[in-house]
């Protein structure tokens, strides 16, 4: 028994709707529920479920599609839907309600806001970010799929106004002791991070925290900042900003390999600073080595990174690296390649191409879980290598969804677990659950990758 509705002009953000869809699907008697804005992608999903979609659907409409076993289950699902939608703030603009701000410009008109966090779909992020800059506020743009010419324009305008643009596609920042986007609970300390790579910054700050060293801040810049087009516009300003920060004793620059021209500029800028700079460039070094370099520079000892290993049987075949974090993925791929495993399969589920029209895999694990299950069922797959990223905004219990999939897998699984003991998900509990499901768990991504490669090489 199906129902398909279009609700005109009822906008809710995709994450909220995904949670509602999951909640409805979990109800007894409901086979599947899809509550989503009627974008091409979502209409395609509904058609794939065999549902008839009204032809006049536009992306401004809310699509409600529920398939249930009987009328009672359907009615219960619809009642639950209305109740959950009513809980979201969009319902608060009924007659007589005080108008909530509808633009960033309006929200900044009153109040003392010091920063703006933009995570609307990328094609709409420019307007909100521009509002922030024009109002003299720094802005973090979590959104991806923002055109690069808009990124350059925003960063130039921000420089004129003396404010900072973090992003687009900036997943991680730590400012004033507060984590923005995906950030871990790390202790305050002397290391300031400038990060063109969000998960790279998470790995590095987590390792430092595990070694007892805190951070003064993480200034995200967005992955494209160190490319030729953007030319390090935000990275250079962030370096200067941390150099001026009295709490920062050492700066770490985390990036995927910059363009050669930008890398020269960044190294030259780094040499002019009073604060020492450690360059943690993926491909030149790995993040674990960078953490060691930082600890050594600060006169601290490098600990043994926590891990939870078990005897795993080496076997022949392909290494499948299925990652939510782009830099973690690239680092593991390069390590596997360096070990002679050039035929490995590596997928970054956080890539722009895989997040268009859907949430980041750290929020919505669905697509990656499907691919992990598929890899586990693939006889050619010898080892599954995963990252699990903890911290603010990430899945509140990522192990819960992974454990059943890992239990069914016949091949060894290796998990790179990025987190701290202060994270809301509890590092130890997540590690224990994954380990109990048979996985070897490492807090160092590089060690996880080497372990995974070793399992295959040990059989050769």
């Amino acid at each position: 028994m199906n129902t398909v509705q279009l609700r005109r002009g009822a906008y809710h953000d995709s994450v909220t709707l995904m949670r509602i869809s999951q909640g409805l699907t979990a109800l007894p008697g409901v086979e599947v529920a899809l509550v989503a804005m009627a974008t091409e992608l979502n209409l395609g999903l509904a058609r794939d479920l065999g549902l008839d979609i009204p032809a006049q659907a536009t992306p401004a409409d809310l699509l409600v599609a529920v398939r249930a076993l009987d009328a009672d289950a359907l009615a219960a699902a619809m009642a639950e839907l209305d109740e959950r939608l009513a809980r979201t703030p969009a319902a608060a603009d009924g007659p007589g309600m005080r108008t909530a701000p509808r633009t960033t410009r309006s929200a900044l008109r009153s109040g003392e806001a010091t920063m703006v966090l933009v995570s609307v779909p990328g094609s709409h992020a420019f307007a909100e970010a521009m509002d922030a800059i024009e109002a003299g506020r720094s802005v973090m743009i979590f959104s991806d799929n923002v055109p690069v010419e808009q990124e350059i324009l925003l960063k130039d305008r921000a420089a004129e106004r003396g404010v900072l643009v973090m992003g687009p596609d900036c997943g991680t920042a730590l400012v004033g002791g507060v984590g923005f986007g995906f950030a871990n609970v790390v202790r305050p300390g002397p290391v300031g991070l400038v990060a063109a790579s969000g998960t790279g910054a998470q790995q590095l700050s987590c390792l430092l925290d595990l070694a007892g060293v805190g951070v003064s801040g993480i200034i995200g810049t967005g992955g494209r900042d160190t490319g030729d087009a953007v030319g390090g516009r935000s990275t250079l300003r962030a370096l200067a900003m941390l150099d001026d920060d009295p709490a920062t004793e050492l700066i770490a620059l985390v990036s995927k390999p910059p363009s050669p021209r930008v890398e020269r500029a960044l190294r030259a800028a780094g040499e002019r600073l009073r604060t020492p700079v450690v360059h943690a460039i993926c491909g030149r070094t790995d993040l674990t080595s960078a953490a060691a370099e930082i600890l050594t520079a600060l006169g601290r000892t490098v600990p043994v990174w926590p891990c939870w290993t078990a005897p795993q049987t080496p076997r022949a075949g392909t290494l499948h690296g299925l990652f939510a974090g782009g830099t973690l993925c690239e680092e593991a791929r390069l390590i596997a390649q360096g070990c002679g495993l050039g035929d490995s399969v590596f997928v970054d589920f956080g890539d722009d191409a895989l997040t268009r029209g859907r949430a980041h895999p750290m929020i919505d694990p669905g697509l990656r879980l499907e691919r992990i299950a598929a890899a586990a069922a693939d006889p050619a797959c010898a080892v599954v290598l995963l990252d699990v990223v903890l911290g603010h905004a990430a899945d509140p219990d990522p192990a819960a969804a992974l454990v059943p999939v890992l239990r069914r897998a016949t091949q060894p699984a290796v998990v790179s677990l990025i987190g701290t003991r202060g994270d809301p998900q509890n590092l130890e509990a997540q590690a224990a659950a994954l380990h109990a499901a048979g996985a070897a768990v490492f807090t160092s991504n590089a060690e996880a990758a080497r372990h995974a490669a070793g399992l295959i090489l040990g059989d050769r």
Binding site: G9, Y11, D13, V15, P59, A60, A90, D93, P95, G96, M97, R98, T99, A100, P101, R102, T103, T104, R105, S106, A107, L108, E112, A113, T114, M115, V116, L117, V118, S119, V120, F126, A127, E128, M130, R137, S138, F142, S143, P147, Q150, L153, V163, L164, V175, G176, G177, V178, G179, F180, R237, A240, M241, L242, D244, D245, A359, H392, A393, P424
Partner: protein, 465 residues
């Protein structure tokens, strides 16, 4: 002392942040979980198909300063009633003016045709309505938009040479604008009625009302219209559908000077019997204020909203005199007597200049007495005004709303904010009968067509630097 110590970046690392969040609620909740002070934006996607035009216009380096100049002039304008004059002083020979964007007889609606017929009869250019219609059909009268001549007219807004007009000057920027004299309610020319009583009243207005007002104003001296509007807002008017306080204030100010004329009593009785007498002065004030904001290159400020009974059109500061139009909607409201929605003509009149200037629907919160036109509660009036702050550039320094803590009215519609929020201007209006000769059938609210705003946005995008 470090180089960024005084820059906005310095407190970023040290201070406890307060964050405006816009987008995915999970990121807002992650901040909430850290006990961070937040202000979430209730974001929705912009009007469909506006993404690239919005990006182009928002990137235009002139926009910020241009809008500051334009809205600064709109807010700074100081309208003063200086004279009452025959339209013949101003009109090109053989030309009648009408409300809204330019329109031909062929496309004109019932009330527009009725008002034009009435004006031909009033000018003595035809003996009967049939003859008047023949003259108009054959192009015997040149039609042009009021706005093209510094004029505004309520409803059909027809102005012919023998009619008299209020002349309002902007004491700050020197502009001049005109509006016809208000005839009262019921069967009146501006609602498309042209019966003998309508023509008779127009004759009296030209022969008696106009000259008496001119002489009274001459004796009294200029009247500060900005001050009357500011006071009337605090007395329950929103200056479009309710002008009772403003009319009373005007009568109190000009009354003694009018009383000196032999025709004083009949003129005072006429003004006293018409709650909307001030509307036309307020409209000329709106026109002179919005005209001050015209022609600022790069500005996205709306400087006119206007309807001719067929099209709803807007003009924007950065795009000169070009009109952007869409079909005029039928107002939603209350009907007089036995009239109903089927009798209603699509939206008509230049009186939306009041909303363009931050009054009318935008000042609904000041006029709880008329919320029944919206079929709603007092809270609806407040919500209407509050929502208009989302699409306007400024708050008027002189026009204030007591119940909102004397907050200035939302003033200066920004085309980009309309497209981004999908919120269309709230317009209060009278409703004209569909058939020529009917007159007023009701009053209420109307929603402008979104395409007028999206078209304007595209034109702005085509002219960006």
């Amino acid at each position: 002392m470090s180089s960024t110590a005084n820059s906005p970046l310095a407190p970023l690392l040290a201070g406890e942040p307060e964050v405006v969040t816009v987008g995915a609620s999970v990121l807002d909740e992650a901040l909430e979980g850290q006990a961070v002070r937040r202000k979430p934006v209730q974001w929705r996607p912009p009007m469909q198909g506006t993404e690239s035009a919005l990006a182009a216009v928002l990137a235009d380096p002139r926009r910020g300063a241009a809008n500051e100049v334009a809205v600064g002039r709109l807010l700074g304008a100081h309208p003063v009633l200086v004279d009452v004059r025959p339209a013949a002083d101003l009109l090109p020979a053989g030309t009648f003016l009408h409300a809204g964007p330019p329109i031909t007889w062929e496309r004109a609606s019932g009330p527009m045709r009725g008002a034009l017929i009435g004006a031909v009869l009033f000018e003595g250019l035809a003996d009967d309505p049939e003859g008047a219609e023949r003259l108009l059909r054959s192009g015997g009268v040149t039609l042009d938009s009021c706005h093209h001549h510094g004029v505004v007219g309520p409803m059909a807004g027809v102005v012919s040479p023998s009619m008299w007009m209020f002349q309002v000057r902007d004491a700050e920027y020197g502009g001049t604008a005109y509006c016809s004299l208000n005839e009262g309610l019921g069967k009146v020319l501006r609602y498309g009625a042209y019966g003998p009583e309508v023509i008779e009243r127009l004759r009296w207005m030209s022969a008696v009302l106009g000259p008496v007002l001119r002489d009274a104003l001459g004796r009294h001296g200029p009247v500060d219209v900005r001050s009357i509007i500011a006071q009337a807002l605090q007395m329950g008017d929103e200056l479009h559908n309710r002008n009772r306080a403003a009319t009373s204030l005007l009568a109190r100010e000009l009354g003694p000077s009018i009383a000196e004329s032999p025709h004083g009593p009949e003129v005072l009785r006429f003004i006293g019997a018409n709650d909307h007498f001030f509307l036309n002065i307020g409209m000329a004030a709106g026109k002179v204020s919005t005209d001050a904001a015209r022609n600022v290159p790069g500005s996205t400020l709306v400087v006119a909203m206007s309807r001719n009974g067929t099209d709803f059109g807007i003009q924007v500061s950065g795009t000169g005199d070009r009109w952007f139009t869409g079909p005029a909607g039928v107002p939603d409201g209350l009907y007089l007597g036995a009239f109903g929605p089927d009798d209603a003509n699509p939206d008509i009149g230049d009186s939306t200049i009041t909303e363009t200037a931050g009054l009318g629907g935008f000042a609904m919160g000041a006029a709880p007495a008329i919320v029944r036109f919206v079929g709603g509660e007092v809270s609806d009036a407040l919500a209407a005004t509050e929502s208009m702050y989302e699409i306007t550039l400024a708050e008027h320094p002189a026009y204030q709303i007591p119940i909102l803590g004397f907050r200035g009215t939302p003033t200066g519609i920004d085309v980009t904010l309309v497209a981004r929020t999908g919120l269309l201007p709230v317009v209060n209006t009278g409703i004209a009968g569909r058939l020529a000769g009917t007159g007023q059938v009701g009053a209420g609210l109307v929603t402008p067509p979104s395409e007028a705003f999206t078209e304007a946005l595209r034109a702005l995008a085509a002219h960006t630097l």
